[in-house]
Assembly symmetry: C2
Homo-oligomer: 180 residues x 2
DNA sequence: ACGACCATGTAAAACGTTACATGATTTA
DNA sequence: TAAATCATGTAACGTTTTACATGGTCGT
């Protein structure tokens, strides 16, 4: 099986929800789907060019002379078709590399203090993540109710919340367990 | 910040627990830590060579003339030092790309049947994973009690079990939710 | 004797991050 | 007017997968 470029499909998925430029795509990923996806600018801009030259997205025509430098893209019918096709036919792959679990699993090699400091830093990160998720949850209930994607976002958000709570519980436990 | 080669440290971590050859390292990863880590042969063999030439691991001297083709490695003192140093000083990074959540989040573009089929396949995978985790749990209690890594394995395993159960619950819910 | 698994490796191609480069616009 | 943020992009480098290549060993 050849390697598929997942970045392509991520950008198609995002543009299927809303017209955006590259910079906004990055912000969207960071603020909304960073829980399960990440992309860097070094991937986003070249991929946008490729998608455009393949006819899967197109630049939105500018209504006025402003925003000369802003390149806002929209997904095309062909793009939607390709997205659907990939989603329906590709097998789900799992490439796991979780450095938190790595450090706990091989934790014997670290001084307990250093391990604990890293665990506490993860705890803080997860607290912030949870706060952000609760904001997204409210936004979803108020502003995005009845959006065609709403039920899918709801399900994803629910997973994210439970996952983050599990992390918080477990990290606390690890922190206690190693300070004996 | 330059990019660190995480494969190196993974192999050092594994060899800190037991002498092994490349093939066994792969099996170990698949059977024991696939929950949070993965490596391919294309990474393992070249990395073993590099680690050896850097003096972080060494080939175990063969006691008899057999096993000419088997290259069993052991971690050196320098290797242990480098492992400890990396673990204590590196920041934990998160490069998330979860294709299950991707497919649910952008699930509107799939026919409900196709999405459900993929979710059911994930359910099966998680059931198998859970069964495997329970086997590991028993092994840990019986054969590996009092091993110096035991408490760290216990914590990691506990996370894996809770995570897998969360997955099973959530996947069932997704499956119900999309067949309306 | 056949298939499954053990065992080691390389090469090509693709993927992805990071740092760099540049400049406009907005906000305090 | 300075700082922050918006905005697009490229180049170098390193990482990772996949496919290929080869041959040994073990069980049935």
């Amino acid at each position: 099986m050849k390697r598929e470029n997942k970045t392509q499909f991520a950008l198609l998925g995002i543009l299927s929800q809303c017209e955006m430029n590259g910079y906004e795509i990055r912000k969207y990923i960071e603020s909304t789907i960073s829980f399960f996806w990440s992309e860097s600018f070094g991937q986003i801009y070249p991929t946008l060019k490729k998608l455009e030259s393949d006819g899967l997205i197109q630049e939105v025509e500018k209504t006025d002379g402003n925003d000369k430098k802003k390149k806002v893209y929209r997904i095309t019918k062909l793009g939607l078709k390709e997205l659907k096709n990939w989603m329906e036919t590709s097998n789900i792959q799992h490439h796991k590399r979780d450095e938190v679990l790595f450090k706990v699993f091989f934790g014997r090699h670290m001084s307990p203090n250093r391990l604990d400091a890293q665990i506490k830093s993860e705890l803080e990160k997860n607290k912030k993540d949870l706060a952000q998720l609760l904001i997204l949850k409210k936004e979803l209930l108020n502003e995005w109710a009845n959006h065609p994607d709403e039920r899918f976002w709801q399900l994803t958000l629910e997973y994210a919340e439970k996952q983050t709570k599990l992390n918080l519980d477990w990290l606390s436990k690890v922190s206690s367990a190693i300070s004996d």
